[in-house]
């Protein structure tokens, strides 16, 4: 228990220490050291500590405990998260060098790490909620890290679409993120409270056997799902993740690719066995699966048409989160009928968290180095970087091959295993529309990957002075790129090497992408332009989030202001009550006229009143 708690809280401890240092280097290295200590401890926990639940009491009246669960999900996830944090921390030492806000960055980096590790290891839902809210807060702080809102930190260009600004500054993006996440969190909190109220426990382990859950309807499950949906940027809540790219690239790698957004789908996976007990769970699993597939398709199309390096990667992240969510939902659907297969199916979904995290962390760091060295965030403004950044180019190609699902990279193995769940669920429930949707997804994925690699490293406008990234930067992402291959081989041997018809869709997509962006670049179609525009504008969803919703909010707030604030409360407290009291006060005061006769009259009236009261009472 103590070692696990040390694993979790070491990053927070060092981040607090960093607050007291003035030197930027000290802050960076002390947090990085803490991250590596945490990673080593997580490895020790994985290899040496007996699985089980360990807890100490916290707030007994609501069933809150500081409880950690060591099982086949949390142990590998802990290792993955802790080492990714350590690697990205090392990368950040160089990437954030000379930044104008090092204290803020390094504190929230450590704060985030601890919060994320709480989610990974927590067995108690209240304890989990602490980490859940912590990563939300850290995400807000780090997305808006560059609070001066310089142009080169934006997402989008300075243009308006239907009167709605289509660019996002770090400040605006961080607000967007926290508002979206908090929306889901409020439902998530209600759901946890309901679970506790119904079952009397908030322990994930105890809930797995809680018979009282049978009295719970499906609505609390849907409330619960809103937490992971918003946190993991599932459609239609994916917008915040795309604009979160205003943060430093190291933050994008850490929070918006490898860890925080994974928290949502991770919670969906670990809670699936619990929700199997709830009547109506089939609907819940369908919602999760369908939302996952929809997210994967929408986000893949966004990635295909995005014109910023990080936006492509963000779209790809949302797409893979969708795949994981769909796999978790499908595992639940299959588990309803074949309960003994559930853990295996969920493990397939879980594996893709690992596969995607390794690939995506490497890609974010690598393209962060590209943006750092080339000085632009737009695709097409710089090209042929193969000649200038050879190590980075090789690492990015390896990671991209993994991301888009080319065998034998880890991305292929884990994605295919996850999608097997979905294919199987579609087959079992006769959902014939699922397979074509998944084939389309698999077809498009390699195209956006090769587009990004082709237009960045192979073709395009060659810059004059671009150098390879410093060793402290390329070392982490190159190591992770190599790991994509090593892990792919390992999983293929240790778990399963899938060989399905899905590979044909991937191969066709790869071939198309290769022709369009590597072999014969520059092919354009004016006929497809409206479609491209529709996708490029992210299906015009930002108009809803940045135009319609704020407008409605303003209208509602004005209505409340006019009717309640000014009309009712101001009117009551500033006009009516003071007016009445002032009138009464003036009336009482003006009885004192100085006229002695009147005073005598008051006395007589007083005597009469008291006499009357005496008679009446």
């Amino acid at each position: 228990m103590e070692v696990v708690l040390l694993t979790i809280f070491t990053p927070l401890l060092v981040s607090v220490i960093s607050l007291f240092a003035r030197a930027e280097k000290f802050k960076a290295w002390v947090v990085t050291l803490g991250a590596f200590v945490s990673a080593l401890l997580a490895t020790y926990v994985y290899t040496s500590i007996q699985p089980g639940v360990y807890s100490v009491s916290w707030i007994g009246s609501v069933g809150a405990e500081i409880a950690v669960r060591l099982d086949h999900f949390s142990l590998p996830m802990g290792v993955l998260v802790a080492w990714l944090i350590a690697a990205i921390s090392l990368y950040s030492v160089k990437y954030m060098e000379g930044d104008y806000r090092p204290g803020w960055y390094w504190f929230f980096f450590g704060f985030f790490a601890t919060s994320m590790l709480i989610i990974v290891y927590a067995d108690n839902l209240w304890f989990l909620l602490v980490g859940w809210e912590g990563v939300g807060l850290a995400s807000w702080a780090l997305i808006g890290h560059w609070y001066r809102d310089e142009y080169d930190k934006w997402v989008g260009k300075e243009e308006k679409v239907f009167g709605v600004p289509y660019w996002w500054t770090p400040s605006k993006a961080s607000l967007r993120a926290i508002l979206t996440v908090r929306f889901g969190d409020s439902f998530f909190l209600v759901a946890i409270a309901l679970f506790y109220a119904v079952t009397g426990t908030a322990s994930l382990t105890a809930l797995t056997h809680a018979g009282a859950l049978k009295t719970l309807g499906v609505v609390p499950l849907l409330f619960f799902a809103l937490g992971p949906f918003t946190k993991s940027a599932q459609f239609p809540f994916h917008e915040w993740l795309l604009t979160a790219m205003t943060g430093p690239t190291s933050v994008s790698a850490l929070i918006h690719a490898a860890t925080m957004v994974k928290a949502g789908v991770y919670v969906l996976i670990v809670t699936t066995p619990i929700f199997l007990l709830v009547p109506g769970a089939e609907l819940y699993f369908w919602v999760v699966a369908v939302v996952g597939v929809a997210t994967a398709l929408v986000a893949t199309i966004i990635a295909l048409t995005a014109m910023e390096f990080k936006l492509v990667l963000a779209g790809s992240t949302a797409a893979n989160l969708g795949i994981i969510a769909a796999a978790a939902g499908a595992a639940g659907l299959l588990g309803l009928h074949e309960h003994e297969l559930l853990q295996g199916l969920l493990f397939f979904a879980f594996l893709h968290i690992v596969g995607h995290a390794v690939s995506k962390a490497s890609l974010f760091m690598g393209f962060g180095a590209v943006i750092h060295e080339a000085g632009t965030r737009f695709i097409g403004e710089v090209g042929r970087l193969w000649r200038h950044m050879k190590i980075t180019a090789v690492a990015m190609v390896l990671s991209m091959l993994s991301l888009v699902g080319i065998p034998p990279f880890v991305g292929y193995v884990t994605k295919d295993l996850a999608l097997e769940n979905v294919f199987e669920a579609g087959h079992m429930y006769h959902a014939d529309w699922l397979a074509p949707a998944l084939y389309l997804l698999l077809f498009i994925t390699p195209i956006y990957g090769l587009r990004l690699v082709g237009l960045t490293f192979v073709h395009g406008k060659e810059p004059e002075e671009v150098h390879e990234a410093p060793v402290l930067m390329w070392l982490p992402y190159t190591a992770l790129a190599v790991a994509t291959l090593a892990l792919g081989v390992y999983f293929a041997v240790a778990v399963k090497f899938p060989l399905t018809e899905a590979l044909i869709a991937v191969a066709l997509g790869f071939l198309t992408g290769f022709i369009l962006y590597i072999w014969l670049p520059g092919v354009r179609s004016e006929t497809l332009r409206p479609l491209w525009e529709f996708a490029y504008r992210r299906f015009y969803l930002p108009i809803l989030y940045d135009g319609v919703f704020p407008l409605l909010y303003v209208w509602v707030s004005r209505f409340i202001y006019v009717v309640f604030d000014r009309g009712l409360f101001d009117g009551l407290y500033h006009s009516v009550i003071p007016g009445v009291v002032e009138t009464l006060s003036n009336w009482a005061r003006r009885l004192i006229t100085g006229n002695l006769s009147l005073y005598v009259l008051y006395g007589v009236v007083g005597i009469l009143i008291t006499l009357l009261l005496l008679v009446l009472l």
Binding site: V581, E582, L584, S585, N586, A588, R589, L591, I592, G594, L596, L598, Y599, Y602, G603, V605, G606, I607, I609, T610, L613, L614, L617
Partner: protein, 411 residues
């Protein structure tokens, strides 16, 4: 031991022969010292507090012939307190009441301006009417006439300035000399309250009379606090404050008159006491907190009357005003709290209603006290704190801070 007071009064009467030759403040100061010693000798803490207040006023201001009036009024107050604590015959209290009325009249009118005389005259007339009712009522009550208590209560309503018998209070505070207003608050009202307590103890309580008194007292505090909200000058704010404070005090007595002793005796700082004693403590503390704080506020004014904005600042009177407001731990906080505890000792909806009413009234009064506070703290002139404001602020603070001890002594 009451004859000692008689000697002092006799000595003061003789001293009136020399008032034309000696500045009255020296007579007042000497008499205050004598009263201080006498009170100490008799073990009368209220007498000590009152004697020092008179001494402070005499040190601060030239009193001319009215120094004797100041000495008489302080002596009368100490006598009334002594009568109550020594359980002497109430008739001595009535004598004290008569003595203080004549003295305070003189002090209110000592400026000899038209306003001073008008304020003093109204005090004299209505206070006189009140005394007539009190004496008549008391005589009838001890003679076995049940209506006597009612008459006495009406008399106290005049004397204390309870709404609707309050009109004179505003004019007396606003138009009388500030020294007179200070004496009115610190001596006249305190004397009247001690006489009220003496009669309260000596006459059997009548349920209906108690209820009527309570209703009038509750209505009175509301009217006073509402009227005070738009009062414009320091004198008038203090006048409405006085009406409210006297209403709180009368309400304490009326509750016990009406409901009698509760089933479970109230407890104060761990001391079990009777409701009657708790009500008496409320009255004494209300009298002292209101009287001392107002003596401090009026005692620093150098104007001819109080119906003005203060020309000079006072820092220490901020404490006095806050005490009147009832801010803990100042003296003025405790009688309100004890009144609430008294109401709560009756576990009925009536008790809850009384608590709500008292708290709402205290809250409603806040704006006008804060206005008074700004008047004294933000006046344009230099700081004009003197012995009176220093002493009263000190006593309001120290008595507040040591309230468990004070309650133990007075209960």
């Amino acid at each position: 031991m009451i004859e000692l007071f008689a000697y002092l009064i006799l000595a003061l009467s003789i001293a009136t022969v020399f008032v034309g030759r000696v500045e009255g403040r020296y007579v007042a100061a000497a008499a205050s010292v004598a009263l201080l010693l006498l009170s100490a000798y008799l073990g009368l803490p209220v007498g000590v507090v009152v004697a020092v207040a008179a001494l402070a006023l005499s040190l601060d201001w030239q009193m001319r012939a009215f120094g004797v009036a100041l000495a008489f009024s302080a002596t009368a107050t100490a006598l009334a307190a002594y009568v109550y604590y020594s359980k002497s015959p109430p008739v001595y209290g009535l004598i004290a009441l008569a003595l203080v009325t004549a003295s305070v009249y003189g002090l209110l009118a000592m400026g000899r301006t038209r306003e001073n005389v008008e304020g003093a005259m109204k005090y004299l007339v209505f206070s006189g009417v009140g005394k007539v009712f009190i004496v008549l009522g008391y005589v009838l009550a001890v003679s076995g006439w049940s209506q006597g208590l009612y008459l006495a209560v009406v008399g106290f309503m005049f004397e204390l300035g309870i709404v609707p018998f309050h009109a004179w209070v505003v004019d007396a505070y606003a138009l009388g000399t500030p020294r007179g207003a200070a004496a009115l608050a610190a001596f006249s009202k305190v004397t009247a309250l001690f006489v009220l307590l003496t009669i309260f103890r000596s006459l059997p309580g009548g349920g209906a009379v108690g209820l009527v008194t309570l209703i009038v007292a509750l209505a009175s505090m509301l009217v006073a606090n509402v009227a005070g909200l738009t009062a414009k000058t320091l004198g008038r704010i203090m006048a409405w404050s006085s009406v409210a404070h006297m209403s709180y005090a009368l309400a304490a007595v009326a509750i016990v008159w009406w409901l009698g002793e509760p089933k479970s005796a109230p407890s104060l700082f761990g001391i079990s006491t009777s409701a009657a004693d708790l009500a008496a403590l409320v009255v004494v503390l209300e009298a002292l907190s209101s009287g001392l704080a107002k003596a401090g506020v009026f005692g620093y004014l150098s104007t001819g009357f109080s119906d003005v904005m203060p020309p000079r600042r006072s820092v220490l009177n901020v404490l006095n005003v806050l005490s009147l407001l009832g801010l803990p731990p100042l003296l003025g906080f405790w009688p309100k709290l004890f009144l609430i505890l008294l109401a709560l000792s009756y576990p009925t909806s009536v008790g809850a209603f009384l608590v709500l009413w008292i708290v709402a009234n205290s809250a409603a009064a806040t704006p006008y006290y804060l206005r008074a506070l700004r008047m004294v703290a933000e006046a344009p002139g230099p700081v004009a704190d003197n012995v009176t404001s220093s002493y009263t602020a000190f006593v309001s603070t120290v008595l507040g801070l040591t309230m468990p001890l004070v309650a133990y002594i007075l209960l």
